[in-house]
Symmetry: C2
Subunit: 262 residues, 2 copies
Amino acid sequence: MGLQRIAKKTLSDGVYEQLSGEIVEGRYGAGLSLPAERQLCDMLGVNRGAIREALKRLAQAGLVSISQGGGTKVLDFRRNAGLDLLSQLMFRRDGSIDPGAARSVMEMRGALAPDIARLCAKRATPADLASLRELVEQMDVAAAAEDLPELQTLSLQFWDALVRGSGNIAYELAFNTLRETYVQLRDLLVQVMADEIRDVASHRAIAEAVARGDELSAKHVAAALMEQGTRRVLELVAVLEDASREEEGASANDAPDDDAEA
Amino acid sequence: MGLQRIAKKTLSDGVYEQLSGEIVEGRYGAGLSLPAERQLCDMLGVNRGAIREALKRLAQAGLVSISQGGGTKVLDFRRNAGLDLLSQLMFRRDGSIDPGAARSVMEMRGALAPDIARLCAKRATPADLASLRELVEQMDVAAAAEDLPELQTLSLQFWDALVRGSGNIAYELAFNTLRETYVQLRDLLVQVMADEIRDVASHRAIAEAVARGDELSAKHVAAALMEQGTRRVLELVAVLEDASREEEGASANDAPDDDAEA
DNA sequence: TGAATAAATTGGTAAGACCAGTTGACCACC
DNA sequence: GGTGGTCAACTGGTCTTACCAATTTATTCA
């Protein structure tokens, strides 16, 4: 792969990651109090401003509740956090993938994608349609060259265009979150979902259904298209779940990462 | 209604609300630079810590991008923000409801609810099932007493239990966000969605489908149930959209709020 | 015993200083 | 003409210290 952008994180980013990790992994259970700000300064060796910036973010994420004089309490993130937390739940601290989160994402896109296609067929502007057709053409080229990574990018852009054309801001925002988790797994999924992203015919069928304003057809083709990748990923997830179950009984300390090459 | 909890917001909350409002309403377009932190201190009359806490939250919400030395740039929230932003988009600054956002929420729950019911039928534990049945019983009582607010609460709890039973963390998190927007509109929607929340039979049918592990039935009943409220809300949204279109041509300064009583 | 009160604790706000990365203008060099 | 170096101005990042305000806990006293 090419050069990677250098990631430099600030102190408050580090504090946020550490605390949110502790909470999500249950080491700070819901209802407990976090240490006082001044105490966290000592524990983490940073100034109070950095601590406060991180705590404000934790509160916004729905992980803690801050009250002046009363301390900072940990909330039940399953009940209070927003969808944005998903990308944090996808990876465990050791870098391995949480099978349950991965399965959840696939199920969610399976539920949303057909309706996104349907609404796009209902509301797409000529400009939206033009983007879709343009992307299908580019997919044809990439498919002929067997350029899987390029197909993956184009397929993602295709869905980007569909979501935009759906005229549904909730879908747009949810899709942003899903995309974030997707690109994190990009290299791994390019192989697993090869069947789906190589299926240019289905992409084209959706685009043409959108062109005809054929909501039903767009919906059904989209559902079938999703089904392909979903099935493969769920198979992989099942394997991962078996692996982590075995691991519980065993040493449980090695990271079963990097299944990218297959 | 009863007494309202006193909302005391901190300075950084105020800064966050003001800046996110400006960005969402387009007064700071994507790509532009926000004023420097020290400049915002002067403009808003608060210390730099409060400004920084707010900016960190804006960055986390996907509204801005901060880089040391390079200033703070506004992002395109449609492309970068997460689902959490939805509750902010639901209300305009004057307190009126954004029809597009309201329609989006209804469409999203219409897409998710059937799959939530399906997965719950697939995976619910005996404890989940017991909660569902208990809630249906309570709904029966409330329905007999024509206690609409109570029915609304119970229906919401019913869906809470369904989501928990679905074993899908993405649905749980997305549902948290949707619930947040729902409770904000609670009093208004209790009348609009009366048909749906009064339909105890459908709730019971879902619970029993879950009991049988009948995924298909759970899914279809849930879809039909959603349809009831969705139709009524979309009718209301259409009225609101007409109203705001008229307003554009006219004075455009009065807030068409409070349609609660009907 | 229980209500009023004081003390300790915790988050909220403030001001000032200095560090570190970015940008753009300018200039020497090839 | 283009390349790279230098420098100054600007911007966010970090740190320290102090004090204010709300809550909690311990204490006191009727």
